[in-house]
């Protein structure tokens, strides 16, 4: 019973938000954004309890925030694929890896690719592709990969696509590991470039110590991506995705070019994933194939689903919780994976519509649940 109440409460909150006057929504949104920017310095009790460095063995709060935002970006991108277009992508980590590897391969002076370019064109040993140029390269590489993967496989239905994408993710990782003389092999690539910026106190602006600057950078990108993604959702594109998800054949007969829209979803998801990977690789200044294991793909999917697939706010919440909680509760130590698994099961069983579901999904599930309840005549 309490569950029903809960989900209604969730709904009502959304409704109230919709009904609130426009100025109120704008101001509230601005406040939230401002608070997000202030977060790394949050030091007022009791709010400061959310920090991850309270525990003596906790990790740096701003760095964790950065990682959270990077995963949020990835999750928002994956949500376009899973939540909007309804394509199950279990290899999203592949695009994330491509983004990270692009900036490393082209931007790091110690990458075999850059070294080959140096000797080919007689460049100095410090030369590498500047960071700013690496951004379009990363996006282009992951986007191309998305299209190359999508074009032959998007005709496949549902779960066939899942296994093919899963394979793709593995192919990327294994290839990166095996091609020693291109990617640095299992040892990876160091000296990945950072974004340019003024020097402060003899350190570059984006350095390893002042993680909050990285966080702010990622946050700006996240806001941009969220803004663009929500534009897609409430447009003919979002509608087309929804229609394809519900009945692809009928949609085709109604003039929806199913393949084209699915490919777009894939391409958009891929480039956002690549962007997230780029941020990650650059901050870390080091990429290695083991950072892109299959588990990360599952984690991304879990972020999208647990928060409420299809709803951007839900996905943000999902990404936040799944990244934040294990960091916050470090004292559980080696019990963390167990607790994590248990939490996944419990949360989903208790709230199958996700923590912050899209209203459409919530209503759908609510209805179905009533039906199912009544159908279960044998209580």
């Amino acid at each position: 019973m309490s569950q029903i109440l809960d989900s209604y409460r969730g709904l009502q909150l959304g409704n109230r938000w919709d009904r609130a006057p426009k100025w109120f929504r704008t101001v509230a949104l601005l406040l939230v954004v401002a608070f997000a920017f202030y977060l790394p310095f949050l030091n007022i009790l009791p709010f400061a309890y959310i920090r991850t460095d309270l525990n003596p063995t906790g990790s740096d709060w701003a760095s964790v925030l950065f990682l959270i935002v990077v995963y949020m970006i990835a999750a928002v991108g994956l949500n376009v694929v899973i939540g909007f277009a309804g394509l199950l992508d279990l290899g999203y980590v592949g695009f994330y890896a491509l983004g990270a590897y692009s900036v490393a391969l082209f931007g790091s002076p110690s990458s075999p690719v850059v070294q080959a370019l140096q000797s080919r064109f007689d460049l100095s040993e410090e030369w590498a592709v500047p960071f700013v140029m690496c951004i379009p390269i990363a996006i282009a590489m992951s986007l191309t990969a998305g299209v190359i993967l999508g074009a032959p496989t998007l005709r496949l239905r549902g779960d066939y696509l899942a296994i093919v994408t899963l394979g793709f993710g593995e192919i990327i990782r294994i290839t990166a590991r095996n091609l020693d003389n291109v990617t640095g092999g299992a040892a990876g690539i160091t000296q990945v470039p950072v974004p340019p910026g003024p020097e402060i106190d003899g350190r570059s602006f984006f350095n390893t110590i002042d993680a909050e600057r990285w966080y702010w950078l990622a946050l700006v990108i996240l806001i941009l991506i969220v803004w663009l993604a929500s534009r897609l959702e409430h447009s003919r594109v979002g509608r087309a995705w929804l229609a394809i998800r519900e009945d692809e054949d009928a949609a085709a007969v109604m003039g929806v070019a199913g393949f084209k829209f699915k490919l777009w979803a894939f391409a958009i998801g891929a480039s956002v994933g690549g962007l997230a990977g780029l941020l990650f690789g650059s901050k870390q200044q080091y990429v290695e194939p083991n950072a892109f294991m299959l588990n990360l793909s599952f984690l991304f999917v879990a972020m999208v689903v647990i928060g409420g697939s299809g709803n951007i706010v839900g996905v943000l919440v999902g990404a936040f919780l799944l990244t934040y909680l294990p960091e916050r509760f470090r004292e559980l130590q080696e019990w963390r994976p167990f607790a994590f698994g248990l939490a996944l099961v419990l949360v989903m069983v208790l709230r199958p519509q996700g923590l912050v579901p899209s209203r459409r999904r919530a209503a759908e599930i609510e209805d179905r649940r009533h039906e199912a309840e009544e159908a279960a005549a044998d209580a």
């Binding site: 309270l54 701003a62 040892a187 390893t208 994976p337």
Partner: protein, 361 residues
Amino acid sequence: GTTDTGGGSDGGGGDDCTFKIGAMGALSGANASIVIPSVDGAELALDQWDNDECDVTLERFDTEGDPAKATPVATQIAGDESFIGVIGGAFSGETRATKSIYQDGGVPMISQSATATDLTQEDPVEVFHRLVPYDDYQGAAIAKYLTDEVGASKVFVVDNSEAYGEPLADRVEETLGDAMVQRDKTQVGQTDFAPTISKMESAKPDAIFYGGYIAEAAPLLKQIRDAGIDVPFVGGDGLYGADFGKAVGDAGEGAVVMCPCAPIEADSTFAADFEEAYGGAPGAYAAEGYDAMSVFLAALDDGARTREDVLAFVNDYQGEGLSKDIAFDDNGDVPAEQVSYWAYKNEGGTLTPEVEVKPES
């Protein structure tokens, strides 16, 4: 870049001697068993430390061996002035990802087990030191053992395609030269090695080297023996640990594990103390962990009270450790002549020291 919220200590300058030392590595997850004993060893060194003036605590930071989890930890440690040193990283990947952070923060590191060559040879940083010899040396020692002790002239070299096994096997291959007949690769998580076995059957080696971890070595060795290939089997320090004998069972009888770790006498005080504190024989790199901590503690004994002091002290340190005589060269490595390699033979499920090997330097 962090505001000091919770950490009660106002560490840093003055004569006040309240400090923390971080230990960073995979304390949970699949690889934890390789790391935890070394941190326990460090803890033991701290417990046994006799100093009234200073109050030092060891903080264990779990990275799951994942560089992405290690960087926030490193930033945290670097940003908290009360940390005057770090033991770790335990693995090479996380060390690569974090050493520039520690360098920026000026935090001295002593790694108990990161062996990748490039860490000190390609882009060394001042703060990084390690107590284990790097892969090149290890590979050379293994190759020497194979040719000199085993007397092999046709070695079959296998690695696990990972950052640990691959460079090690590369180095073994390089040193062996013509004495290697064939090279093959396996994957982490693989259980069926039929393709490798069939390659071995046609190559007819007189010894086999495997650069990888126990999980794959156990079924591999079992399948080698099942196929009737009865030549000596040698592994790197990835197989060093009490688990090896248990995992491989009867098939592992006589297999050799090479480790840059001197045998700890079962009746030594360290072994006994460790047993008492942690309820088991000292595991992988326990002695190295102990030594790393001892170096830091010696710095405090010496009056070092800041990171710079400690770093300077570590750089110049010379002394006798549990695992070896300790001194660091300019790159942060222990000079080759101080390192000893030991071949341990698996006898009835336990690794017993067989012979010491010195690679030519």
